[in-house]
């Protein structure tokens, strides 16, 4: 009836207003940036937009220079088996979860299917090559995708398993200007991942 709806509405708006007071965009200054057990080294300042990211899993951070429509640098803490990089919107639309003993192509699939779960279209990978994260053997690959509006997106990804957990770094940006603009910095970040 009326009363329950009004109460529900007021509760919802009170929650929203109090939430908006708590969350904010913070600075991730040049230098070491820690996410749980992982650390990356940023060559210049980034904005940490993790807090305003919709439905963000706790182990995933999102850095940006110009906002999530123009560049996204995802950095994760070690994902344990059963954990996802992208939170599912509904139980009937599950997102990829990490599993122990995945083959290299399955690790790549984990990232590309997660990117598709972020509503990117026609996700493809290319140029799979080895990478080193500390002493661990990792994988590095490139991505191509499109937004729903048809904007071409380029990506760079790196995955590594350390002590049974998966560490992911993923950069996505429009192919027009924005990907190339930050790629040198992103390569530095990818090479700087330290675990433990």
């Amino acid at each position: 009836m009326i009363r329950t709806n009004v109460v529900r509405l007021l509760a919802a708006s009170a929650l929203l207003m109090s939430l908006s007071a708590c969350v904010s965009v913070t600075s991730a200054p040049a230098g070491p940036y820690k996410i749980g057990t992982a650390t990356v080294t940023l060559g210049h300042e980034w904005s940490d937009i993790s807090a305003i990211m919709f439905a963000r899993p706790a182990k995933v951070r999102l850095l940006s220079m110009d906002g999530p429509l123009l560049n996204r640098l995802y950095v994760t803490d070690g994902l344990a088996p059963g954990e996802f990089m992208v939170k599912p919107a509904a139980k009937e639309r599950p997102t990829p979860t990490y599993r122990a003993g995945m083959a290299p192509t399955e690790l790549v699939e984990f990232v590309t299917d997660s990117v598709a779960a972020l509503d990117y279209q026609r996700v493809e990978t290319d140029n799979l090559r080895p990478a080193k994260v500390g002493s661990a053997d990792g994988l590095r690959f490139d991505l191509k995708a499109k937004t729903k509006e048809g904007l071409d997106i380029s990506g760079a990804a790196q995955v590594a398993e350390v002590k049974g957990k998966l560490y992911v770094v993923l950069f996505l940006a429009p192919s027009e200007h924005y990907f190339a603009a930050e790629l040198p910095e992103v390569e530095t970040v990818l090479g700087s991942v330290k675990v433990g």
Binding site: S47, G67, L69
Partner: protein, 229 residues
């Protein structure tokens, strides 16, 4: 307490008779395009509808067409008034893939500006107004023989009579109902560098209903306030 806040917010909106605008300039004193500069006016992307009491937004083709035509005319007049030469571009007719990418990139940049320059949050990495499409815009400059591009984007709804009544009732109960709003943003892009030299968001008040020629004139003037034209 949230009850009083929402009533206060609604009351403020009811009182807002004047169009509010909010301009951003890339430079404090920008270099205005020289007289005779060629400005590519991208046909305004405007969709208007009727917001009914139940919250359904009914698309209104006639309003959207009127608004698009009115705003386009005002923009062209403003451009010629400052003795610039304008060219018109219908984005739906563009076929060149690179040009299409640039148009979509502009949408992403425009929405980012709206989100971070006008929204609740700002980016520490964007202390000054410094947005760009990259110098790929030179392809647009060549394809359309233009020095600048002027984009306009508008969305909005007008409350039906039933909805207006319901809103007053809701406000008395201490509940805020989403209010019908009409807003637009324009950006002026230097096609040589891709830099957004000027950006403005305008929220319409009761005196600038863009469906009518007079309202559109007021609204367009608000949109182009401080435009370095």
């Amino acid at each position: 307490m949230s009850v009083f806040r929402s009533v206060a917010v609604t009351a403020c909106l009811f009182l807002a008779a004047c169009t509010t605008t909010n301009t951003r300039l890339a430079d404090k004193s920008p270099t205005k395009p020289a007289a005779g500069a060629k400005i590519l006016i991208v046909q305004p992307d405007i969709e208007l509808g009727l917001l009914t009491v139940t919250g359904i937004q009914e698309a209104r083709a006639d309003w959207s067409t009127q608004a698009r035509g009115n705003i386009k005319r005002e923009l062209e007049e403003a451009a010629t008034a400052k003795s610039h030469v304008f060219r018109s571009l219908d984005p739906t007719s563009v076929e060149d893939p690179r040009a299409l990418q640039l148009l979509r990139l502009h949408e992403a940049v425009g929405n980012s500006i709206r989100g971070f320059n006008y929204g609740l949050y700002s980016l520490p990495t964007k202390k000054s107004f410094d947005w760009t499409l990259g110098n790929g815009t030179q392809t647009l400059a060549q394809a359309y023989d233009a020095d600048y591009a002027l984009f306009t984007y508008g969305r909005g709804a007008y409350s039906s009579g039933g909805r207006k009544a319901a809103m007053v009732g809701a406000a008395l109960l201490g509940v805020s109902m989403p209010m019908a709003q009409q807003y637009a943003f324009t950006s002026l892009v230097d096609l040589k560098t891709g830099k957004v030299v000027w950006f403005n968001v305008a929220v319409a008040g009761t005196d600038s209903d863009m469906r009518s020629p007079e309202g559109a004139e007021t609204f367009a003037k608000a949109l182009l306030k401080d435009a370095p034209l």
